[in-house]
């Protein structure tokens, strides 16, 4: 491991004997999951609970003429059949815009469609029954008369005058547009030796969480309070949104998040059917459960990355990249998603293209258009995979054009490691990155020269292997700049409360959430290290708006960096309080004492003075024996939000080694490498597993995953047999290395790691495929790289 910067004096609290920071320890919450004894929302049962099934539009675009619910209501076991109009009595519609996305517009969206359906899968009626099976039976008896309208499906023609406007009130199908022009782009292209251009095509895909979205909403008419059990990444956001649209105060809504069966950004949003379920519980005054089936998941879980992006790069013969230019187009479905909006992804693409490189000349345009397909919004990596694929694809095309090795052109253009702090042409501020250290580490790990020799030797045997490299930057630890400044009530700060119980054990409440990343583990590791108690003595409570401090949750690679720092500061404050009490009891001073392994010890010689359990006993049961004037506070709360930098950028580099079968078009992934710099590493195993998991989601996008719509807006592969995701048999082993450049903005120094893998994986694979196909003169700038795409490029079909 290379340490690019040291903050040893600042890390002193963590650099203690028995510190868990930087150590691989098993997650404390994992045992119940390996025994199948977790509690996912889909497992939950409450007294008087009923199940809701949503009848969904079979048309991508239609008017609802009439809904006849009479027959359905007569089915034994049916409690209610509710239309959008009826439900609107208890829930108001919403518009997914934010003020800092200038010009972003969207139309009011209802929990259940009223009059107008805008995508295949939009709910048109709710059927509530004693069981899901009965509700599904009854759903078949709901008769809906539609007048089918022309569907807007092709984003390339969405803005044409002849194309129908989906929402008449908006005037056109343009949701958002952004232009950026930095430096002197035309001059730079004119001064280039070569200018290369390509159209990059990205397959619309989705997260495919293994547990579908699920919610149990429980309105208590007696308490006038709604409890929402939901696998959400952002409980306080859900609390606020539910309250706002049900006409309640935030304090009348409690959101509880137990185990979550995969999330990846899919579960950071508030979906119309979830809103409808909250409203139904209020309407029917009883618990209502909704669990999406897999077809519904494909039709309603947010999609992402449906982009067409024309890119240009200018390069000089010595390899100097002179300029980048992109013209990006993306179709987001019929509504901007609520409350995070669907302009963020395109905005990120504009922000991130060219980000790792020195070139100062950059022009970009993105247009975000409405269409009659499922909604698109933030999914793991948000814009990074698109920006990285365009940037790295262009860099490789430029290198090929001037006959330079892809590694060499990067070496000559990546921002130098001693250039920080600095900013990108799009205005991103970089505190400290390590592109060159990462590149050097990657070269050593993968034996680049050895692989090139192997590639050359195998080509003679008609075996076509390729190497693909992709450098990337990643946005982590977002401040209020992400959502708060745009008027969204989505917190960018997190809070942690730590207390010592009467046995000397620690209990910690944090506002970050757990979906398997290890939020609970990293919190316990930090608190245990600072307090001087073993992890087994730290209990972490998360995912409950009644029982944690207010905060953002876990998304945008923020849990460790923001929630971890809050945990560190809270534990430090508690530690200080404990030492004050100990000093009073022991007639010493706090400076002379320390806490090690459940005991107050002499800081000098480490000898034990008093066990924490004894201290706690005195504090809680015999405070009468404490010196006069001492009021122990064995609980401390701290909050944290980054203020110096809007985002803590991280960086990294990936490489793919693969083989293309030029007869079948199949790609075999042989090996994948990642070098990543997320600052201070709290748990190396958890960081590596975040990166591996992220890489494999990126590999899915590179090779398999695509939501295939026909020209009428019908999703034709909305099931797991037809929508392909990576399986164990076709995934490679992934080697991971690190460079460590902690952020100086926090004492912990941690940045995020959750999206790095997804950011660069597809770019590395696409570059490797093109590297393999170079002898054939074929270049592909489209993902997924299906056999059909590859054989077409090879002119074999």
């Amino acid at each position: 491991m290379t340490t690019a910067a040291t903050h040893s004096e600042r890390l002193s609290v963590l650099d203690r004997p028995n510190s868990y920071i930087g150590k691989t320890v098993p997650r404390p919450n994992i045992e119940r999951l390996v025994q199948g004894r977790g509690l996912y929302v889909s497992d939950m049962v409450l007294p008087r609970m009923v199940q809701v099934v949503y009848l969904r539009s079979p048309h991508a675009h239609a008017r609802i003429i009439e809904i006849d619910t009479v027959a359905a209501k007569q089915v034994p076991g049916v409690i209610a059949v509710v239309t959008g109009k009826e439900l609107s009595a208890v829930i108001t519609p919403w518009v997914g815009v934010l003020s800092h996305m200038k010009g972003l517009k969207s139309a009011p969206q209802h929990a259940i469609a009223i009059d107008h359906v805008c995508w295949q899968g939009e709910a048109v009626a709710a059927i509530v029954a004693t069981s899901r099976a009965v509700a599904e039976d009854a759903a078949e008896l709901v008769a809906v008369e539609y007048e089918e309208l022309e569907a807007v499906t092709d984003m390339r023609t969405a803005l044409d005058p002849g194309t129908p406007v989906i929402h008449a009130s908006l005037g056109d199908n343009l949701a958002f547009e952004r232009h950026l022009d930095a430096g002197a782009v035309d001059q730079a292209f004119a001064g280039s030796d070569e200018v290369v251009e390509a159209d990059f095509v990205f397959g619309r895909h989705t997260g495919v969480t293994l547990e579908p979205r699920a919610v149990v909403a429980d309105w208590s008419a007696a308490e006038a309070r709604l409890t929402i059990y939901q696998g959400t990444q952002a409980p306080h956001m859900v609390q606020n949104i539910a309250a706002l649209h049900l006409g309640l105060q935030d304090s009348q809504v409690r959101v509880v998040c137990k185990d979550v069966g995969g999330s990846f950004g899919i579960k950071v949003h508030v979906y119309a059917d979830e809103m409808a379920t909250y409203a139904l519980s209020k309407l029917l005054r009883r618990p209502v459960k909704y669990v999406a089936d897999r077809v519904e998941s494909f039709n309603t879980d947010i999609h992402a990355r449906d982009h067409l992006c024309r890119g240009r790069i200018g390069v000089k013969r010595d390899g100097t990249i002179t300029a980048f230019e992109i013209d990006d187009l993306t179709g987001i479905g019929p509504y901007s998603m609520y409350p995070r909006t669907s302009a963020i992804e395109a905005n990120q693409v504009v922000n991130l293209v060219g980000g790792p490189y020195v070139a100062k000349n950059y022009r970009a345009r993105t247009r975000v258009v409405f269409q009659n397909k499922n909604v698109m919004c933030q999914y793991r990596g948000v814009g990074h995979p698109v920006a990285c694929s365009v940037t790295e694809g262009l860099v490789d095309l430029a290198a090929a054009k001037i006959g330079m090795d892809p590694v060499e052109i990067r070496r000559r253009n990546l921002v130098p490691d001693d250039a920080y702090p600095c900013a990108s042409p799009s205005g991103l501020k970089f505190e400290l990155l390590s592109h060159h250290a990462a590149l050097n580490r990657l070269m050593a790990m993968m034996d680049y020269d050895g692989l090139r020799a192997e590639q050359a030797a195998l080509r003679k045997k008609n075996i076509h292997r390729g190497i693909g490299i992709a450098s990337f930057i990643e946005i982590t630890n977002p401040s209020a700049a992400f959502y708060g400044v745009g008027g969204a009530r989505i917190s960018s700060q997190d809070g942690v409360a730590v207390r010592m119980d009467a046995t000397g054990a620690a209990i910690c409440q944090t506002s970050i959430t757990e979906q398997g990343q290890g939020s609970e583990s990293l919190t316990a590791q930090i608190v245990g290290s600072v307090l001087g108690v073993p992890m087994e003595r730290v209990r972490v409570i998360l995912g409950d708006t009644d029982n944690t401090p207010y905060g953002g949750g876990t998304w945008a690679s923020r849990g460790a960096g923001i929630g971890g720092e809050a945990a560190l500061q809270a534990a430090k404050a508690l530690r200080s309080n404990i030492l004050d009490v100990a000093a009073a009891i022991l007639q010493s001073t706090p400076a002379e004492l320390d806490i090690v392994n459940n005991a107050i010890v002499n800081a000098g010689d480490g000898s034990t003075r008093i066990e924490l359990s004894e201290l706690a006993r005195i504090v809680y049961f015999r405070p009468d024996t404490l010196p006069p004037g001492i009021q122990p506070e064995l609980m401390a709360t701290r909050h944290f939000v980054p203020r110096d930098y809007p985002f803590a950028f991280t960086n990294g580099i990936q490489a793919s080694w693969l083989e293309v079968d030029t007869d079948t078009g199949f790609v075999k992934l042989l090996k994948h490498w990642v070098v990543e710099d997320c600052g201070t590493i709290i748990n190396p195993q958890l960081v590596d597993e975040q990166i591996r998991g992220g890489v494999v989601q990126g590999l899915g996008a590179a090779l398999f995953e695509k939501c295939i719509y026909d020209e009428r807006g019908q999703l034709t592969n909305a099931n797991m047999a037809d929508y392909l995701v990576p399986m164990s048999g076709e995934m490679p082993d992934i080697d991971i290395g690190h460079v460590v450049s902690p952020t100086a903005e926090t004492e912990l120094g941690a940045k995020g790691a959750g999206e790095a893998g997804t950011a660069g994986a597809a770019a590395a694979v696409a570059n490797a495929v093109n590297d393999a196909l170079r002898p054939f003169g074929a270049t592909i700038t489209e993902i997924p790289l299906t056999p059909q795409t590859i054989l077409t490029a090879l002119r074999r079909i």
Partner: protein
């Protein structure tokens, strides 16, 4: 749906995790829903309900099956084993420990099915290597880990079991 057809409950008698179970079920009830909703054995997870993802894998008469593709009535007189049973008997304690040590799960939703399938492989092919493990687990989707940690954990268990005198 035909509303006219009388709904006939079918009596079934089976063993679940070694315990006798008597039940009256609708013919259309699948085994996954029977285990989860009638017996509250929620360790068997439902991911796709069409036999692709493997999250609902259980053992019926010793063979692993997709419980979403089997009807409860088909288990009459059969022995069904779920993750709860395998956990309590200690049969896969070493495999579970290996998953824990290697962090071979994140959200944990695929894990019960993954453990079922891995144990099936290790019983049939105690000497299984990485390629064989990857192949055998290919019917069990995991969206979190990228599979490598799972393969590592199964491989480590295979090695330990091979070294252990039987």
């Amino acid at each position: 749906m035909t509303m006219e057809a009388p709904i006939v409950l079918v009596p079934i008698s089976l063993q679940v995790n070694g315990e006798p179970v008597e039940a009256q079920v609708l013919p259309r009830l699948n085994l996954a829903d029977f285990l989860r909703e009638h017996l509250s054995l929620t360790g068997t997870h439902v991911g796709c309900e069409h036999g692709v993802c493997g999250a609902c894998t259980v053992r019926v008469n010793g063979d692993i099956v997709r419980s979403c593709l089997m009807l409860a009535v088909q288990t009459h007189r059969a022995s069904v084993e779920t993750i709860e049973g395998l956990s309590d008997s200690g049969e896969i304690a070493d495999l579970q420990a290996s998953f824990r040590q290697r962090n071979a799960l994140q959200c944990g939703y695929c894990t019960p099915g993954m453990l079922m399938t891995a144990q099936d492989l290790l019983k049939q092919h105690p000497e299984a290597g990485r390629e064989q493990i990857r192949e055998h687990l290919s019917g069990n989707y995991c969206r979190c880990t990228g599979y490598q940690a799972i393969v590592d954990a199964v491989e480590a268990t295979a090695r330990t079991r091979m070294e252990r005198p039987s």
